[in-house]
Symmetry: C2
Subunit: 358 residues, 2 copies
DNA sequence: TCACCATGCAGAAACGTACCTTTTAAGAAG
DNA sequence: CTTCTTAAAAGGTACGTTTCTGCATGGTGA
């Protein structure tokens, strides 16, 4: 009845465009989507009419029809008790940014979703695939998604035989070993570790790599751990580490804020960096380039990871699986600054030197 | 034909649940959505069957039918030439995090979208509403959305008579004036400003507030500006500012990294903070609590802003407009630390809390 | 006994699009 | 003139829900 003439109060639909252009619905659809075989005259005419009516195709209808929504989930698992720690550290922010850019470049958009969510939120959005950051072993959400045929690519090697479509990760063991060697080369005799008591893959692999390195070189492990989600706990743990009787002469901090925390702690104990204490910290933040002294950092290259994860995911969605390897290891980057460079790597470890004049 | 028996290869639909449960589609829908009038026996039976079949309602179909997708856009305008500077600073990360949490708590999810995007990405996702961070005057995307009846709430007072549904912002002028007064109280005679040459509202308002303050107290303005999207330019500009013949004895940096940049520049010129130079910086980062010395920061309270923006938006979507004011001003928070406290101002405010002896 | 009503459920019409199939028109080849 | 080929466009169905309307049934008050 009121079909061909006036829309009630909603947006203009494809029918209205067809009526206004004097063609059929099929023609409009084909003209707008560049399909079918239509003369350019018809095509441009339809386009013009659609533009004039302010026609915008219904994403829901298109998704229903085609089965593709153009949406990718971005899932962040929670650390500790925090309800939702998205972008808790610079790493996540950078990674999410790169993933968003990469997705957009291929016509997809990212939907931010928490790993531990009520079922309904996940059901209410049609996802073509999902990126999972650091999934827990046997994550029920991931299992469910894969069971329903939705591709899942994880940032971080999945544990517990999680059936993901692919993953991207750093070689954390190699990174830690290389970093510890670097500190030892700079003259460190006893290297300490500031780590988290969380069970995520990154923390676990890094810590075990540290322990195995210690065993290899015959050093007693010296480490303090703390709940990574508590910002204050890091400073306290840093203090604890430097207060130990077996105080280390070099420290590696696994988390982003550890660098400034350790620097502050060193100051409180009157330890000079790098003369009395070598410092390295895993961080993506640029502040460590301008601290006093600048601190050596290990970058996990979140941008490359975010990009790679999305590429693999979209390839899987579009059936181009053979393009790229399903598993990718991104090299880390040790940015060496003053805090890990002892002036004389070979001479006495603690030469009494006054501060260089201005 | 092959309708009631076997789904071809896709997911189980509501029809399959109805058939398996021996009821009608209507009954399944009502049972699962808690509508209609059904005895609890039927309801639980249907739920059980649906669970057994692994039934997940199609979000696309539901959206098409109801007109509500449960998705909110989160739009970030670009700074300078950068293609997409999401979470360039800690502010965005925190704000996005809070917005995501708030949305999730009310059953919505956020879709990250760039302000300057190809049309098709915006068309491909059904949005119930959109959050826009710091929209440009007369932003075409915003105009288009509003014209299509989609609620838009902005973070930042919209300029150019942009027809948004609502907005949330700080009182930037008041914040800057209060901060400058604080520096003057601490003994500053000539306060400099490190600012950006971008045209966004925050930069503009803050800069003009600085200029009017200078005029009021009769001080010549001393400022340097730089392209805020270039990380290196900030350090250079900080250096420039302290190299001027009319060197300020206090500086306010508008952007997050300015604090460390200014601190590094001060060190290069042999200026002690706060003795020779008072420092304040607008930042959400926690690193400034542990720098040497700790730096006073102005927090814009991104979490409160993110939460408020989402609440207003969802209220508008659900027609609860009368609940909250459509425009909200969030107070800023000046976190006073050593860098802006001159000794003579009062006695020692911060007794050095060294760790109690080992 | 007869309305009458509440309860429990089923039928079927949308929602707006994409695409498969069919029709029409118009030349070209026989 | 017929038949074949091809371009151009129309018809109609399906995607999977929600929801309006309506049909039974059985108990209740008059």
């Amino acid at each position: 009845m009121s079909r061909s003439t006036g829309r009630r109060l909603g947006r203009a639909g494809i029918r209205d465009v067809a009526a206004a252009a004097g063609v059929s619905i099929t023609t409009v659809s084909d003209a707008l989507n560049g399909k079918g075989r239509l003369p350019d005259a018809t095509r441009s005419h339809v386009r013009e009419v659609a533009e004039r009516l302010g026609y915008r195709p219904s994403a829901a209808a298109r998704t229903l029809r085609t089965g593709k929504s153009g949406l990718l989930g971005l899932t962040v698992t929670t650390y500790g008790d925090e309800p939702f720690t998205f972008t808790e550290f610079a790493y996540f922010a950078e990674m999410a940014r790169a993933a968003t850019s990469a997705a957009l470049a291929r016509g997809y958009a990212l939907v931010i979703l928490p790993a531990t969510s009520r079922h309904d939120v996940w059901s209410n959005v049609a996802l073509d695939g999902t990126v999972v950051i650091d999934p827990a072993d046997g994550d029920p959400v991931v299992t469910e998604l894969v069971r329903h045929g939705i591709p899942v690519v994880s940032d971080g090697r999945p544990g517990g035989a999680l059936p993901v479509t692919g993953w991207v990760d750093n070689d954390h063991e190699a990174a830690v070993l290389g970093l510890l060697d670097h500190l030892a080369d700079a003259g460190a005799r006893r290297i300490g570790l500031l780590t988290g008591n969380t069970t995520d893959t990154y923390t676990r692999l890094s810590t075990t790599a540290y322990l195995s390195w210690c065993e290899r070189v015959g050093q007693d492990p010296v480490y303090e751990s703390y709940p990574a989600h508590d910002p204050c706990a890091g400073a306290v743990a840093a203090d604890r580490l430097l207060a130990r009787p077996d105080r280390p002469d070099a420290v590696y901090g696994l988390f982003d804020p550890n660098g400034t925390d350790l620097l502050a702690a060193a100051r409180r104990y009157g330890l000079r960096v790098p003369e009395d204490l070598l410092l390295v910290c895993c961080s993506e933040s640029t502040v460590y380039a301008t601290t006093e002294p600048p601190i050596t950092t290990l970058s996990l290259k979140p941008r490359r990871i975010g990009t790679a994860v999305v590429q693999i995911l979209i390839d899987a969605i579009e059936g181009l699986d053979d393009d790229r390897p399903i598993e990718q290891v991104i090299p880390t980057d040790l940015i060496v600054r003053t805090s890990s460079q002892r002036r004389s790597a070979r001479t006495a470890i603690n030469p009494p030197r006054g501060p260089a004049g201005a």
